[in-house]
Symmetry: C2
């Protein structure tokens, strides 16, 4: 069993109104000095088997096909 964490974040330059709203909310709660806030997604995925190279290749294919919109998002795959 291989555990992996996939992190999907917006590419630089892509507007993130959700992140901006969170930043405003944090300032409203009294947190000073909050600069940019950008929100992304994380997926904790378990893959059966022990072939780490194959699992990593599979995970990248999953990102390309389903988990990330590669037009506007970057992803990173980390095996744990």
């Amino acid at each position: 069993m291989i555990k992996a964490r996939v992190t999907v974040t917006l590419k630089n330059g892509v507007l993130d109104p959700q992140g901006k709203a969170i930043g405003h909310a944090l300032s409203g709660l009294g947190f000073d000095g909050v600069g940019s806030v950008r929100q992304g997604k994380v997926f904790d995925i378990e893959i059966e088997g022990d072939d780490r190279a194959a699992a990593e290749a599979d995970l990248k294919a999953m990102c390309d096909k389903l988990l990330a919109n590669t037009v506007i998002e970057d992803y990173s795959v980390t095996l744990i």
Copy 2:
């Protein structure tokens, strides 16, 4: 300027129908051997100043107050 990544994930035992749907979709796309899938959130936050200890304390307070629902979610703060 301090950059930090906050990761918010569901606690173990909390049902994650969204993650389950993603797992089913991955199986439907032909990815065999996908076990559990759990989805979480990630926030990339910039904090002004150079006091890393204060920034980390602030970030934890932000999680407790806004970014995470600590009844059902865990969070981790990593300064980059």
